[in-house]
Symmetry: C2
């Protein structure tokens, strides 16, 4: 890295380390968290962050508030804290995964351009099994979507999604070649909060093979998901079949307590 960019980086750093503005909209520890992420992105993995007491002074917050922000970053895998030594920028290994993400975000994070082809959309009654999973009456109407999801134009997975029609009136008028989660958020104000997932292996049948452009009986991953909002109301049931030759699931897991 050249001397010039070092200077530029220092200037940015000084900027990022300035006192936070009084923004009554957002919680302070959240503002601090965001500022810290800016700082971290200007550093390299292994670099030591300034001491907590100094950071707190710079941002103009109490050490407790600062620690609340850092704790979040630590459990999200951004930094590692070592008592008696300091806080360090973490390796950007696999971490930060094992989060709830839609296909579009997932692919963007892996450096691919996501896209989508709508195979079918229908407006049908839920039926017994789906009704039970979404905690609605078997007679209640749902939207049923089938899509091929692509990364840089290459088919990556087949996606089947069911949502209660009551929550998303007119969904069939939306541009469903884009991120469904984004549509849910922007158009319907629905924000997914958590999801229960089940992962299991399979082999693709002839129809799936044609759509994914892989040989019949190729290994594939099935991911079944039921997504909930913050009040744990069921929002969607999704089943995705990922081709096994170009996709894997990566995560960092930790020991017992958080």
């Amino acid at each position: 890295m050249s001397h010039d960019t070092d200077i530029a980086r220092s200037a940015e750093l000084a900027d990022a380390l300035g006192a936070i503005a009084l923004d009554s909209e957002t919680a302070k520890h959240e503002q601090v968290r965001n500022r810290l992420i800016e700082v971290i992105e200007l550093l390299q993995s292994g670099d030591r962050l300034p001491p907590e007491r100094e950071l707190a002074a710079r941002f103009g917050v109490s050490r407790m508030t600062l620690r609340q922000a850092i704790s979040g970053l630590a459990s999200a895998g951004y930094v590692v804290r070592v008592q008696g030594d300091g806080t360090f920028v973490a390796d950007p290994t696999i971490s930060k995964s094992s989060e709830l993400t839609g296909f579009s975000e997932d692919m963007a994070a892996r450096g691919f351009r996501p896209s989508s082809r709508l195979l079918a959309i229908s407006h049908v009654s839920a039926g017994a099994a789906l009704g039970q999973e979404l905690v609605i009456s078997p007679e209640e109407m749902v939207f049923h979507l089938e899509r091929v999801r692509m990364a840089d134009g290459i088919p990556m997975c087949l996606e089947t999604i069911d949502l209660p029609a009551r929550l998303t009136p007119g969904l069939d008028q939306q541009p469903l070649d884009q991120s469904l989660y984004e549509i849910l958020r922007a158009v319907y104000g629905i924000e997914l909060f958590e999801a229960d997932q089940v992962i299991l292996p399979t082999v693709v049948n002839q129809e799936q093979a044609d759509l994914l452009r892989v040989p019949v009986h190729s290994p594939a991953l099935i991911v079944k998901r039921i997504g909930y909002d913050k009040k744990r109301r069921p929002i969607e049931r999704a089943m995705s079949i990922y081709r096994g030759d170009r996709y894997d699931i990566r995560m960092t897991v930790r020991r017992n307590p958080t």
Copy 2:
């Protein structure tokens, strides 16, 4: 539930809600956390916990300490907090998964009796690929284990593990039909802290099919794992092949921040 057990439960509850003993060994918020787990297990899902201020008074700790304990339980999925309303015992759905567990713990949590059959153990030099993954010299010696893991006597997965021999001298003298993690902890004082995992699908070949007692070309899950201790020193590389007809991976994922 009968009246008698109600009374018994109340007595237990009162007991669990008493002031905590002064145990300088463990951090207070950890003691509080454990006590809260006792309380939670006496309640049913959906029950409301006493207010934070009351709990803090009962345990004889500050509200901050109490909140620290509850925060851990919340992110671990034991309880759900609702501002303005209260803290409630969570549904024991899939949650609490997505943790780092060994096969033995995993199976015990699912209600099966875990066991193991040692296929082979050898003491060899790491080689290039493994050396890189464990961050050791390619010439350094490692123990190489192959085991069949069973649940209630039914073969569930084939496990291949490599560990630096330097960390576990005499490992080949240990009872390797038991939990490896338990041996690491009890005999060598090595505690795994986190692991990076990759999950992908496959089909079993003839040899694997025979060992797992499934048809050849059956779908299976491959889980590759590199385990680290708290200082992020690599401890083990493991590759497990799970039969797809009797095993799946379940987890609860949440949105962005923790």
